[in-house]
Symmetry: C2
Subunit: 401 residues, 2 copies
């Protein structure tokens, strides 16, 4: 393939939205305007669907104001898609690319999107069509391989930490057992972030359960009851993906009619009220307290507009820009990754490119070092990992005797 | 009763927390320090429970910094209580007041707290004990009689509006039916506030259901399906207290084992996932789309720390101050109310005192003028009522062809 291709570019967004996925989109637009090798930039409406239907928006002629308004807006401005393209679907995409002289394809999404990008990249090589294919990471789950972390995670972590700080204050005022169910089918990163809510003596969450450790229901109820008996209240955070002793997700086991998306992922959080009801009923059975409440945080975790992490917004934009930058150079395909340098105030990232295959389809788990021995909490060492990624947290004040 | 009593004061917080209930507490503390008739100020830990157990915190000697830290913190810093005192309980409270020479009682809470204050006020008159009793309004439901609105409502309205703005963007990106269940057992004020999320053409919520109008399930599913067929998506907000054609709350009807609190109120939001599951299943039955999601917003509505409405915080503080101011003058008992003057930028409030009896126990509904004829949406006239109470809403940007 020629190192510098001349032609048009397509950018698309895929999967569950995040609060900063539009920052990556705007990063792509900005950098395309800097690179002479790219003539026009087409935004694919609803991801791969927009490509096969030739439903494009011209993105190269937006004003600075329009770009910044889109950048600060949560959720995918181009529209997203849950379609996982098979080979036949990919062939139709390539046909559309040929027709519009598209030589650059930027796809913003999670591991399923990386997988789609990988299939397309393989197919164009076989078809002898010159196309550069780049995946730009996006996921609140933070579960992509190779990269240090993912754009979208920091803001979701900021939101859930705020919610747990508020909920813990609520639980102090009206003591009881409170359980919050947080998104994360396979990886406990988002759930683990709520450990940042612990800032003063006695602050919750007192227990945190992630999918990386089994959560037999008797263990869960016993540990909650023990905490309640010891301190008179208990604030618990649980991943939607927590499993039984055999590693089967409770939510899957409990749902009689599990709804699967087109990627074969079970839909857990909504309509997965079955998990919250189950946990509540099991806790009530222990009779440790009548005051048991369970909330499932839901979509605000991925699309809440009020509390976007500045670092997350910056990094999402930067990953978008860098994808175009790498594509304009020698690289022909890959996924953008972040590497971390420095700790605390000295935190900064640099980007690099990894192969699409190394990110496609698989997911990363929360490393063992961050989970405590009993498998019911997150170690303090996780604070150094997650702190630089989240926005400012609210200061609170207590009255003590 | 002598017009100016000399003695100590007790302040307590009651019922479900709000994000600004501590502003009212700090307002009381500030004004007590200005009034010579009050010697000491005792904070009752967990409301009426703290009074009978003589569990008090000295509040008159806190630093400015400590006060401001508490003021900006959501949830009841003194601890709250769900106990509804009967006459025997009230007699024990009066005994505690006598013992500590308490001549002023300030109780921050909703209509149940006004009711408790009213009982105590009646009993001290019979017992010939000089005590001034003041209720300071607090509720995210905004359902107290007489006052124009209640401290706590504006911030909860800010939160739910943010959440719905984000959710509507999410629903644009991945079109389907999305239902959000918002707090409000009897009154639709909080649910109605989400109409503020409509700022551009096509913005949701497209349908809003409040407890003030019956919501037969066939009407609900038909109206959602019609909207989806017309615009290709549907964003719906539903009060937790929505009722069937006979006025029975769906959540109550659906729950086999309804949990009641000590005031006799059914607990709907948490463990009331039964409502969200029911709505989801009924919508799926219409087969209008497979993409149906339902979220129940839960406790973040009342305790989220990140987005406190400045007007709400100011008014909550002011109501606390004014309660002490009125008590120091000729008034012997009452509930603090707000009256509204001016519209838009000229909005301001003044306070006045109403009788405890006029606020006790009963609740106010959303006025008819704000609900549309079909009973499935909120009229634009509501915007003028609610706008001055909420904090700044995020600007968003769209990409259009």
């Amino acid at each position: 393939m020629s190192k510098q291709l001349k032609g048009n570019a397509v950018v698309g967004q895929s999967g569950g939205p995040t609060a900063v996925i539009n920052q990556s989109l705007v990063g792509v637009i900005e950098e395309v305007c800097e690179q002479e090798c790219i003539t026009e930039l087409f935004g694919a409406v609803h991801g791969v669907e927009g490509i096969v239907n030739e439903n494009f928006i011209d993105l190269k002629h937006l004003s600075r104001n329009e770009l910044e308004a889109v950048a600060r807006t949560p959720s995918a401005a181009l529209g997203s898609s849950r379609i996982k393209p098979d080979k036949e679907y990919c062939a139709r995409m390539i046909e559309s690319f040929r027709k519009h002289n598209v030589r650059y394809f930027f796809y913003i999404g999670g591991n399923d999107s990386a997988s789609s990008a990988h299939i397309i990249n393989t197919m164009v090589q076989d078809a002898d069509y010159d196309l550069k294919v780049f995946h730009i990471p996006k996921t609140i789950d933070n579960d992509l391989l190779v990269t240090d972390h993912c754009p979208g995670y920091g803001t979701a972590a900021t939101y859930v930490t705020h919610a747990v700080i508020g909920d813990d204050l609520d639980n102090r005022a009206l003591p009881g057992v409170k359980v919050d169910v947080v998104m994360g089918r396979h990886a406990g990163y988002l759930t683990a972030a709520t450990m940042l809510a612990r800032r003063h003596e006695g602050d919750g969450p007192h227990l945190i359960y992630v999918p990386e450790r089994p959560m037999p229901i008797e263990k869960f109820t016993r540990e909650v009851a023990e905490t309640f008996e010891k301190i008179g209240r208990c604030m618990v955070v649980v991943s939607e993906g927590v499993t039984d002793e055999k590693g089967e997700p409770w939510a899957t086991r409990l749902q009689k009619d599990v709804v699967y998306d087109s990627h074969g992922n079970p839909q857990l959080t909504t309509g997965g009220a079955v998990l919250s009801d189950f946990l509540m009923n099991e806790l009530l059975k222990t009779k440790v307290t009548k005051r048991v409440r369970v909330d499932t945080f839901g979509y605000p975790q991925r699309s809440f507009p009020g509390l976007i992490s500045p670092v997350d917004a910056y990094e999402a934009r930067y990953c978008g820009r860098m994808a175009v930058f790498y594509a304009s150079g020698d690289n022909t395909a890959g996924s953008i990754c972040m590497q971390r340098f420095g700790k605390g105030d000295r935190y900064r990232i640099e980007t690099f490119v990894t192969t699409l295959a190394s990110v496609a389809a698989r997911t990363k788990n929360l490393p063992d070092e961050f989970i405590n021995e009993q498998g019911n909490n997150i170690n303090n060492s996780f604070r150094a990992y997650v702190s630089p990624l989240v926005g400012p947290l609210p200061e609170v004040g207590y009255l003590r005797k």
